[in-house]
Amino acid sequence: MKTSLQIKILTTRITKLAIVLMVVSSCAASRQNNPLTFNIRAFVNDLPLVLGTKRYQNLTGEGEFTVENFKFYISNIKLLDSIDNPVYTEPESYHLVSFDDDRGIFPITLDYDGRDFEKIQFSLGVDSLANQSISQVGDLDPNNSMAWGWAVGYKFLVLEGNYFKEKQAEIVPLVYHIGFSENYQTYLFTKTSFGSDLNQSNEFNIKIDMASVFNGSNLVSFDSLPSVTFNRERARQIGGNLKDVFSVMPW
């Protein structure tokens, strides 16, 4: 444990040095690259996600709900060749994905050298090594809203909102904080599944459907489970649905 932490800390030091060196070298000239952008687009079923004001139909029953906060970590992005060897591995690959701009789009731009690849791999959550550290790598920040606070580690996915049951004035708060290493998920998409657009624009879209967090293989209703925080069993029910939340989205 100690050794791995030491390595982690050393790596962080080297990374900080690398950042400094990058700043210095960027003074001289910017290097050639061929950026590839992947846009994560958030939906509730087929409706674009709008935080705060927009009311959506309850996913598993009657009534409506709003989404006040929806965030998750996308991490360890890799571009792979046909036999799954990495062609490109994004450094410091921890992105805190949020949708504050009212368009429901979060772009991630990969600064890679344009070599050919066949597949795109990424994960939802934070891998266990980084999750046991307080180092600031990418968007990991122990002072942000994703840090648990009571223990080292991060929430992988956060969804907070209000549920308005029909004919009842009462607002039921919805709080889903999903962490724990067993809920870390890795996804693989082939380049061909994005169609020809990718070759033309170097940009592709991946949809995350918030509805599938609840109505995936495990049906999770707002009535029976309005809140999931540190109850590991409950988190696992949602965690099981996370494997199907992303899909390729044609333009």
Partner: protein
């Protein structure tokens, strides 16, 4: 499956191995990008705790020794007010952790303003929007607003420039900080912002604990655990729910977007002030105010944007059982409870008397005597 490690354990390990980031090296390297002659000197002895994390500085306003020195002079300069009696430090007094002990700030007009003076500390981190309603999106923009507010310092910015130019001490200080002795509003703003940025509180008992230099008492430790924990009655986990809004090390609001602005249940819909909604124009932001840093909180009474609570006990009681329902009440606050059932009009954390006392004890570990007596932060005019 490995359980999450205790934060204190991990921090002690990190601190024992002397992982301190020397930001000065970074600034020095940055300054090498463009090096015109007569460059002000970068701030060399500037250090910040590892656990506060990285921060950004505006490219056009690097931290320099001369800029900070000028900013400190201006911060304590009463000539920046219409009656020559009010400076920034009138409402931001070092011994009160840069607050004024009042519910509502009072400046040149003698008329109470609509808000309580915000504490100033660790402004390099946390929310990127300033004032209780977030109307300034950087410290440069923030700095000039109180000078021009008719109730605070009451001086048109052109008048401020003219008055400073007539004081022999200032042109050389502007020349040292910015290369020419011409005084402009943006230079005043940059210098004031720089001084505010170095107001770093990093030597409280909590900091010493985080660095492994001291222990917290049993009660303080319980308070810390409660502070950090969102209660989950389904697994018997008790919590005071503070860290849902106040980050674990900085104890400030969160930096991402407007995450550091919350409706914390002070009023119902009928009485709720607009706050952030006036800045964003969004109905869903109605009643949200900036989550302040809790560093030195024992010194900054009275509390909340309108100073409605005189003591920390009153603040804790508010969260414990006096949360008022409204449309934009934070869902985390609505949901959090140490009792079942949760939600609806029964909002409140429902802690025991011992737990409330423990949280109070932990809040008192955030007091930093070195910060309020630091001679680099006091009035340079005397």
């Amino acid at each position: 499956m490995q359980p999450p490690k205790e934060i204190s354990e991990l921090l002690h390990f990190v601190m024992n191995h002397r992982i301190i980031i020397l930001f000065s090296v970074f600034f020095w390297l940055l300054s090498q990008c463009n090096s015109p002659e007569n460059q002000p000197s970068p701030l060399n002895d500037f250090q910040a705790p590892f656990y506060y994390g990285v921060f950004d500085l505006p490219e056009e306003n690097p931290l320099t020794a001369e800029g900070v020195a000028l900013g400190r002079m201006l911060f304590y300069e009463t000539s920046l007010s219409s009656n020559n009696q009010v400076s920034c430090a009138t409402c931001h007094q070092q011994e009160k952790a840069f607050t004024d002990g009042r519910a509502f700030a009072i400046g040149v007009s003698g008329k109470p303003t609509s808000k309580s003076s915000m504490p100033l500390n660790n402004l390099l981190w946390g929310p990127k929007h300033f004032f209780w309603d977030g109307r300034a999106s950087n410290l440069e923009e923030q700095s000039l607003i109180p000078i021009q507010n008719p109730d605070e310092m009451g001086l048109e910015i052109e008048e401020a420039v003219e008055k400073l130019g007539q004081l022999p001490i200032y042109p050389p200080l502007f020349k040292a900080a910015f290369g020419t002795d011409e005084i402009t509003p943006s230079k005043i703003a940059m210098a004031l912002a720089s001084f505010q940025r170095i107001l770093i509180s990093q030597n409280s008992k909590y900091d010493k604990y985080l660095r492994g230099e001291t222990e917290l008492s049993k009660e303080e430790l319980l308070g810390k655990e409660l502070f950090m924990t969102h209660p989950d009655a389904s697994v018997g986990l008790r919590g005071g729910n503070c860290a849902d809004c106040h980050s674990q090390f900085l104890t400030s609001g969160f930096a991402t977007g407007y995450d550091g602005f919350k409706n914390n249940g002070l009023d119902n819909d009928e009485n709720l002030e607009g706050g952030l909604a006036y800045v964003t124009g969004k109905e869903s932001d109605w009643g949200k105010f900036k989550v302040p840093s809790l560093r030195n909180i024992a010194l900054t009474a009275p509390y909340m944007h309108d100073g409605r609570f005189k003591t920390l006990e009153e603040v804790i009681d508010h969260y414990d059982h006096q949360i008022k329902d409204s449309k934009t009440l934070d869902p985390l606050m609505r949901e959090a409870s140490n009792q079942k059932p949760v939600g609806g009009k029964e909002s409140g954390f429902h802690l025991t008397a011992d737990e409330k006392k423990a949280i109070l004890m932990f809040l008192q570990t955030l007091t930093d005597e070195d910060f309020i007596t630091n001679k680099d932060f006091n009035d340079p005019h005397h």
